[in-house]
């Protein structure tokens, strides 16, 4: 039976609430806008005795992730949260956490990287970390941010994976936007995640062990191969956990959220909160007879290449929207576009794909932008020609 309470929460408080119910052994974090509300709220839970967590208030994000690595190597269930420059400051240890195969779960409230200084949403922070070896889940709403965090614990700790997971939500838009959502009972969350018994622990003095040892050219390569193998097993685990989560919440999760895709000839691909605007626009365009659909990936790492190929079969033209730029990439495209192109090319699909960069530094995106995208896609299918591979939405040209 699903028992849940309807509440009005913003994304940051929803994430903090998930963390309170997860009740991790250790949480080490440093405040940074727009993530601050997560650790601030969580530290209140600590002060009020609502969790058993050892909260480590550190002097920087580099220290936060270092403390997480130490605590996870000691066998703890460990969480943290960050955004933008905080994630950038963690960088070195973000890679180390993944390579040491430590199932740390981190909430990321997406924010533009400096400079110029900006605290608003784009995906440059987490997209920059896309090669770090973390599983990446993107959330559209506070509800999804909450649900994804709970699932992330199970995904990260799965014995086939032992990989850290980042759960993203859009800064301010989701992070600070109040939303009606459902919170599960504490017991339901705790039963779902179970207790964590690390296979290897620094505190297991009967079985002394060295983590992060020197690894030369004669073994480093083999360990990287293992790491990428674990990542290749993640998709199945993510799908299984998403289905199981549906049983306790009534909300099942897969790799995508597909809207109006069944007979779609045109498709829009976009991550996170913008999918909400996109869905409304697709609905309006459908009412006007445009055969357009929306594909919102929830999983970016591992990249669901085959799943994209399957989902886009029969589609004639695709627009991929990116909230970050891969500077110096082909035509200055965004990372989501590049990966979609690679997946379709490798599968031999000749689908026309174009890229739109939008929303940098918190720039709003409106339904008329989607109308423009749809009209561009119609031109492409009519003429067979792509006028502009990478375009900008909402930019003063």
């Amino acid at each position: 039976m699903v028992v849940s309470t309807k509440m009005a929460l913003d994304g940051a408080h929803a994430a903090a609430r998930a963390m309170q119910q997860i009740n991790p052994d250790v949480l080490a974090a440093y405040p940074i806008t727009p993530q601050t509300a997560i650790v601030q709220t969580f530290s209140q839970y600590v002060a009020d005795g609502e969790v058993d967590t050892e909260f480590i208030a550190v002097e920087s994000e580099h220290a936060a992730m270092s403390a997480c690595v130490g605590a996870a190597a000691a066998g703890g269930r460990v969480m943290t949260a960050t955004a933008a420059n905080g994630l950038a400051l963690m960088w070195e240890i973000v890679y180390i956490a993944a390579s040491m195969r430590l199932p740390i779960v981190m909430a990321v409230v997406n924010r533009a990287l400096s400079a110029p200084l900006n605290i608003h949403c784009d995906h440059s922070d987490s997209m920059g970390a896309r090669e770090a070896g973390w599983i990446q889940l993107y959330s559209e709403t506070a509800q999804e941010a909450y649900d994804n965090l709970i699932q992330a614990v199970r995904i990260a700790e799965h014995p086939d994976l032992l990989l850290p997971v980042m759960v993203m939500q859009d800064g301010f838009i989701t992070g600070h936007g109040l939303e009606r959502m459902e919170v599960l009972e504490d017991s339901a969350v705790r039963d779902f995640i179970g207790t964590y018994k690390a296979k290897y622990s620094l505190l297991d003095i009967d079985h002394p062990i060295t983590f992060g040892a020197w690894d030369m050219y004669d073994y480093y390569f083999e360990h990287k191969r293992q790491q990428t193998d674990a990542m290749s097993k993640a998709m199945k685990v993510i799908v299984d956990v998403g289905e199981e989560f549906g049983k306790i919440s009534g909300r099942s999760y897969g790799i995508f959220d597909a809207y109006a895709m069944d007979d779609a000839e045109l498709a829009i691909i976009v991550l996170s909160s913008t999918a909400g605007t996109a869905r409304t626009s697709v609905k309006e365009l459908r009412a006007e007879g445009v055969k357009i659909g929306l594909l919102k990936p929830r999983v970016f790492r591992p990249f669901p290449a085959q799943e994209f190929v399957d989902a886009l079969k029969g589609v004639k033209a695709v627009a991929v929207l990116d909230r970050s730029i891969s500077f110096g990439a082909m035509d200055g495209a965004g990372p989501l576009f590049l990966e979609v192109c690679a997946a379709l090319f490798a599968a031999g699909l000749k689908t026309k794909v174009v890229n739109y960069i939008y929303g940098l530094g918190g720039r709003d995106i409106f339904p008329q932008h989607f109308a423009q995208v749809a009209s561009d896609l119609q031109d492409i299918t009519a003429t067979g020609k792509v006028k502009s591979l990478v375009s900008y939405l909402g930019l003063r040209e």
Partner: protein, 107 residues
């Protein structure tokens, strides 16, 4: 420890090491380009080289200098630098200088 040259499927996850002190099995001496050589006759057994060697590669028994551990000596030359004892004609190099001198590894 995994067997020598384990495949990626066999090797320990994340390079974990399950045996304490197993770094002794890793022969860091293979990196050496310079090799310390010692003149036993003129050694005063002052143990300064033993104190300073960063890789514990001076083997000592009963307070007396015995040998270099060439499996782990990385050839840094610190022992040769700190050795206070002088020789006119070194047992190995034939040169005037210290009791520990550095020679090219391939010589």
């Amino acid at each position: 420890m995994p067997k020598q040259k384990a495949t990626w499927k066999e090797t320990n996850i994340a390079g974990l090491v399950f045996e304490p002190g197993s770094s002794a099995e890793y022969h860091t001496g293979t990196w050496r380009t310079l090799r310390p050589v010692h003149d036993m006759e003129h050694c005063t057994h002052c143990m300064l080289c033993w104190v300073y060697c960063p890789d514990s590669s001076i083997i000592v028994e009963d307070g007396r200098w015995m040998a270099f551990d060439y499996d782990h000596c990385k050839g840094c030359g610190i022992c040769a630098s700190v050795c206070p004892a002088k020789v006119k004609v070194h047992e190995h190099t034939g040169k005037e200088g210290k009791v520990i001198q550095m020679v090219l590894e391939q010589d």
